[in-house]
Symmetry: C2
Subunit: 367 residues, 2 copies
């Protein structure tokens, strides 16, 4: 055995999903295709460029399907992810990260030489100056200004800061100002629009052209058109969907393309089932939930705890049948993107029959 698992050992087309060894995430092809089509149709309707974030799946074949549906360009979160996708032929890549440090800058420059359109973001003079220095006498790099529009993570805090940083980028001979990057809180379209439009006014007054306003996120994706300044939207999770997206109102449980297949391995008490999916399969991401996923077919079952290779389901609220030892069940996970990062391969199926096994090509790569 090695990390290059023999795909045929895991599954091959025609196998029944119900015969797969567990724990194993599985992707429903029809739901996947419907999720891609539904979101692309919305973006087309509102004339928004759509740039899928590949962090959710890390699989070039899925990004190709997103592009085939009409997406233009992709979004990566790490240079190493971008390297995998560049090698697979993608030539318009936005890396939404502040790139710092000699080793990363060297790899970034090599990548910039290799593909047609590479863009990164920056939210500080330190990052901009580092990029400007490293790209001097190289092919210019396009840099967007990351704005904190309520997410409370990275990003300049005010339109004035955004405009000042844009001017700093525009003034650097080795850099090209590529636009603004925003990310709304759930329901925060108005806040994004206020930040973006105020910044655009400042940029206009300064004579700085802003070619792109890139907004993002799946939870409020169908509010994207309310950000009238935006020229594009980025989203990742929509392709698989998960329990957190159901809660956000983005989709229903029937739109969740990823299930985690697990086996009941113990029923120590009448009210307790233990499955073979723990934090090394489902991750401990709660995303505000108190439990670790939805048990398909047993909606009253509550996954109250995970250890590394076990999940404990409290059945005390189940009035009808309860899962038996040996029974295979499916979990709708809280968060799909982190699960993709645990498995070297992903199994796809249609109506419970395996269609393909894809390598999760950008899984687990360090920067």
């Amino acid at each position: 055995m090695s990390h290059n698992e023999d795909f045929a050992i895991i599954a091959k087309p025609g196998d029944k999903v119900s015969d797969l060894s567990t724990p194993r995430p599985i992707i429903d092809e029809d739901r996947l295709a419907a999720n891609i089509a539904r979101v692309q149709s919305y973006m087309d309707k509102h004339s928004l460029n759509f740039r899928p974030h590949i962090k959710t799946h890390k699989i070039p074949a899925l990004a190709a399907a997103q592009i085939a549906a009409g997406a233009r360009g992709i979004n990566c979160q790490k240079i190493t992810e971008a390297e995998v996708f560049a090698a697979a032929g993608f030539d318009d890549i936005l890396i939404t990260f502040n790139i710092l440090g000699a080793e990363k800058l060297a790899r970034l420059a090599a990548l910039n030489d290799r593909i047609a359109a590479l863009k990164v973001v920056a939210d500080s003079a330190v990052t901009v100056d580092g990029l400007a220095a490293h790209f001097a006498s190289r092919k210019p790099l396009t840099v967007l200004v990351e704005c904190d529009t309520g997410g409370g993570r990275c990003g300049v805090q005010t339109p004035a800061e955004a405009a000042a940083l844009a001017a700093r980028i525009a003034a650097a001979p080795s850099l090209v100002f590529g636009g603004l990057l925003t990310y709304p809180k759930i329901g925060g379209a108005a806040e994004v629009e206020r930040f973006a439009s105020e910044t655009l006014a400042l940029l206009k007054a300064a004579g700085i052209d802003c070619p792109v306003v890139s907004n993002g996120g799946t939870p409020s994706l169908f509010d994207a058109h309310l950000v009238t300044s935006a020229t594009e939207h980025r989203a990742g999770t929509y392709i698989y969907n998960d329990r957190s997206m159901v809660r956000a109102g983005h989709c229903t449980e029937d739109d969740c393309a990823m299930h985690v297949l697990a086996t009941v391995v113990s029923r120590p008490t009448a009210d307790r089932a233990v499955i073979d999916a723990g934090s090394k399969s489902l991750t401990s991401d709660l995303l505000g939930f108190a439990d670790f996923g939805t048990v398909v077919g047993y909606p009253e079952g509550v996954i109250t705890g995970l250890s590394e290779e076990h999940g404990v389901i409290d059945l005390s609220r189940c009035n009808g049948k309860r899962p038996e030892i040996g029974e295979k069940i499916r979990i709708i996970p809280n968060h799909t993107c982190v699960i993709s990062n645990l498995f070297d391969t992903m199994v796809f199926h249609r109506d419970g029959v395996v269609t393909r096994v894809e390598e999760v090509a950008a899984r687990g790569l360090v920067w």
Copy 2:
């Protein structure tokens, strides 16, 4: 790039840890060696067989160091982990899991043929009967009865159930009853001892020999001698240690051999630092904490949130210096075992100079 990362790209002996690209878990060789020695010395003093759990590191070279120090046998949580370690020459392996299903049983039988001493656990008649049927006309399999001694996960609930299941195993021609498996709550040695001694009395009355009482866990490891019925102890986390083990009183921060190296990539406000280690590097395991790790050198910094590739540190309680953009910092993670499951390679160092890079050989293997 592929999953078989070029180790030399990541690090090579002699490199400075401070030059590594981040995020990157690093292991302090001296702390590692001291952790191995300290626990083995305790087990030797109390004449307890020590069986390290390899889930924490998943690296054969580290298990070899544990065996060289005096451990006898290893503990795995999955058949695929055991396959990797069997291929590396380990021939006494306990898999602490209820094995069910045709595919897993076939692999288990192949493994049983390959190594000298393979043992599994069971906590139900369904599991025992499945093993008994599959191993009929094969080399007999040794099975321990898993007992729920307060953990609330798998395991028979009472000494009477334990004795009955032991009798069922002993009566199966293809199985060998291997003993009892227990796991204490923190501070729960007395409960383990009560359960084990009552079961041993029942077994004695039934004329069933019980060769092993295997107790486990790092949090209460130094109470292992209080379980006077125990013949062996299993533990994994002690080799690296982590924040949860500091809280449990097992060790101090200075005994934590794993740090996660991260870079400050943004300082959007005076009170906020953002690092490049998120849930895909640190995992979301809280283990009862409200935050995601201890920031070495900035003890007042609180890692309040993780997204996939970012961690947000609240600096509002820091009175002295605050980390700058570009600064590399170290995190003592809440839980080491799940971090080993994210990285294909692990970097070791002594006093900040890289000593070796090991493949995390059993990482991410599905069953």
